[in-house]
Symmetry: C2
Subunit: 430 residues, 2 copies
Amino acid sequence: MTGAMKIGVAGLGTVGGGLCRLIETNGSLLAQRCGRSLLVSAVSARDRRKDRGLSLEGARWYEDPVSLAKDPELDVVVELIGGSEGVAYEVVATALSAGKHVVTANKALIAHHGTALARIAEEKGVTLAYEGAVAGGIPAIKTLREGLAGNRVTRVQGILNGTCNYILTTMRETGREFGEVLDEAQKLGYAEADPSFDVDGVDAAHKLAIITALAFGCEVDFDAIQVEGIRRVSAIDIAYAEELGFRIKLLGIAQRRNGAIEQRVHPCMVPKSAPIASVEGVFNAVHAEGDFVGRIMIEGAGAGERPTASAVAADLLDIARGAQLPTFGISATALESLPTLPMAEHRGAYYLRLLVVDRPGVIADVAAALRDEDISVEAMLQRGRAPGEAVPVVIVTHETGEAQMAKALARIEALKSCLETPRMIRIEQP
Amino acid sequence: MTGAMKIGVAGLGTVGGGLCRLIETNGSLLAQRCGRSLLVSAVSARDRRKDRGLSLEGARWYEDPVSLAKDPELDVVVELIGGSEGVAYEVVATALSAGKHVVTANKALIAHHGTALARIAEEKGVTLAYEGAVAGGIPAIKTLREGLAGNRVTRVQGILNGTCNYILTTMRETGREFGEVLDEAQKLGYAEADPSFDVDGVDAAHKLAIITALAFGCEVDFDAIQVEGIRRVSAIDIAYAEELGFRIKLLGIAQRRNGAIEQRVHPCMVPKSAPIASVEGVFNAVHAEGDFVGRIMIEGAGAGERPTASAVAADLLDIARGAQLPTFGISATALESLPTLPMAEHRGAYYLRLLVVDRPGVIADVAAALRDEDISVEAMLQRGRAPGEAVPVVIVTHETGEAQMAKALARIEALKSCLETPRMIRIEQP
C-alpha cells in the first residue's frame, strides 16, 4: 500500500457532487480494492457558499479550476466542468502537461480534442480516462478497450442518449406525438429546457465519435458524423414500425467499410427481436461486434449523478491500481486518420412513408421510381381506401444504396399525387 | 516496447485452438494494443500428430503439461485442460508457484480452488486471470472487478449456461417438452452426450461461485450454492409463464442479506419486460446491481471456441500491458468467509402448479393451507371445468418466505384431492 491518491475535482455540479459522495460512502471499500485510499484534496467550483451536502473537509478550495490543475500536490485531476472549449479544455491540457493523470466525463471535449489530448497524455506518460463521457455508468470504454482487446472490431452501435430513448419509448407506449412527450420529459427533468443538444443527436454524436476512435484505432473525428435527431419521428411511424415488427431507436453506428469509416447518428428501425430493441426509457446500450467475440451488448443507466460518478470512480481506481492504458487503446501517435465513407455509399434497407392521392396509377408511379433505381420492395402497406383523397402508403425495401434511394425519393416527391415530402427511416439489421 | 510475451498453452482443444488462431489472425493488432507481441512459445496436448489446422511454428512441445508449467522461458501459462482436480490444478499451481502469470478458462477449477490459488498468486506477485471461465466472451469479470469497482454490489444474477437457455428458449418457441428438445440440442451440438453437468445446473453454479466472490469480496464457496437444474421444467409451466407475463430462465443469483450470502441456481420466472428475459438461445448475460451504478446488464455468446478465446486473449493483453489486479478484486488474504443464508430464509414470490380433482372444497383446502402460513395469493388460474376429474390449478403468490412455502406445499401435497407433487417455481423481480 502506497500513500493516498490525491484527487482534485474541478466542477462540483451533479457529477462532481456524486463523485464526492461516492468516495465518502464507499471509501474503505475503494481502498481495499486499489490498495490505497482516494482523497479529495482539492476542489473548484463557482460558488463556494452553496450547500452541496458535502463535507469536503480539508480540501483546498480553488476559485480558478486552472490553478487547481497546476496544484503540485495532486496526483489526478477530475474535470467535470463540461463544454468542448474554454476552461474545461484548459484544465485538462494544463493538468496533463503538468504530468498529472486526468479523468473526465466531458464527451464534447473528448469528441473535439480527444486525439490532441491523448498525445499530450502519452508524451507525459500519464492517463487520460473518460469512462463517464460515454453512456454514464455503463463500462463501455473499458469493454471496448480491454474486454474486446483480442478482437478486430467490425461494428459498434449504441443507444447513446437517454433523453431520446425516453421520448421514443414514451411515444410508443402512449401513441402521443414528439412535442407533447418532449414537454412532459422537460417537466420530469429528463430533458433540458433547451433540448436541442439531445434531440438533434449532437450528444449521441459526441459519444459515437469517442467509441469509434476506440473501436477502430482512428483519430476522433466528430465532424465526420452524419447526424439526424428525432424531431421528425412521428407517432404514425412508430405505429407502423410496431406493425412491421420494428422499434424506432436513435442509434449511433460506426463501421469500417472499404478502408473508410462510416459514422452516423439517426433514427433507425430495428427488429423487435434484436437485443437493442428492448432497451427502453432512459437506459443506454452499447453493442459491439468483434471477429472472435461475436456480438456483445451492455446496457444500463446512461446518465445521472450516481451512475456517472460510478464511471469516474472506476477510472480513478484503474489509476490508483497503476493501470497504464493508451487513451484510445493504441498509441496516440499510431491512431489512423481514416477517410469518411460518404453517406451516399451507405447500404441498407429503408422504410418509406408517403402521403398520396388515392387514385389509379399512383402506386404504379411510385413503384416505377423505385424500379428504375433498382430498388426492390419487401413490403407495402396501404390502409383502407379513400378514392380521390390522401392516404398514407408505407413501403419497406430490400437492401439498396443511399444514393439510389435519394434519387428515387426525389422522383417520388416530384409526383403530383405525392402530397408531402416522403418520410424515410433507415432499417438496421444488427 | 519490451520483448515478446512468451505464452505456454496447456490444452489444445476447442478453446486452445481458438486462442492460437486468434493470436495468428490478430497478432499485429494485439501488439499495437499492448506494446509487445504475444508469442505462443510452448504448447502441450495429448496427441502431437492430430491436425488442428495450426502452424505452432517454433513452439516447444510438451507431452506433460506440468513440465510446460515449469518452463523457465515462459511469462504466462494458459491452462485450457479443464476439470477441477488432477492435472489442470497441478499445472496452475505449479505455474503460479514458479512465479508465472496464469490465465485459465477453467470454471470448475476456480469454483473449487479459487481462493487457495489466488493466495499463491498474491504471494508470488503474479496474476491469476479467468475471464474465459465465466460467460464465454462476455467481459463479466472485468465489468465486476473494474467497471463497477466504485460500487458496493448488492446483487448479481446471470444466465450462465447457454445449453439451458437454448433448451428453455426452444421449449417456449415450439411448445415441446424438455426431453425432446434436449435430444435435438444434442444432435445440434448445443448439449453434451452426457448433459447432466449443464442441465442440472452444476456448470452455472461454478460460474456463480466465481462471480459471487468477486462481487462481494468473499471466499469462493461452491458448496454453499443451492442448485436445481431444468429437467423438471415442463411445457405447461412455460405456457402458463407466458400467460402470466413471465419467461422461465435458469438463473444464478447471489445477494448479500443480513451479513450472509445467498447463492442459488434454479429455474426462475422473470417478468417479460426485464432485460434478462429477452436474452435468448445460447446467449448468456450477467446482471449486476451496485449502489451507484444502478443496474447494468451485459450479454453475449457464453461459450464456444472464438468467444472464449476472445476472453482469454483479453486476460493476456491485460498482463502484457502490465495490469496487476487482485484475483477477486481485493487482496486474497482479505477475502471474507461469509456465512451462507439458508434457503429456508429466502423470500420471494412463487408460482405453484397443482393437479387436483375438480370437486367442491378443493380450492378452499388449498387456500387454507396458504392462509395458515400467511401466504397471500396474487393470482389463481383454473382452466375449464371437469367435475370429478383432474384439473391443473395455477397460483401466483405475493412475497413470502421459503420456509412457509415449504410447509404450505407439504400440506397441499398431503391433500387427498392433490394428485401429484405440486410444481413450484420461484419468481424473481430483477
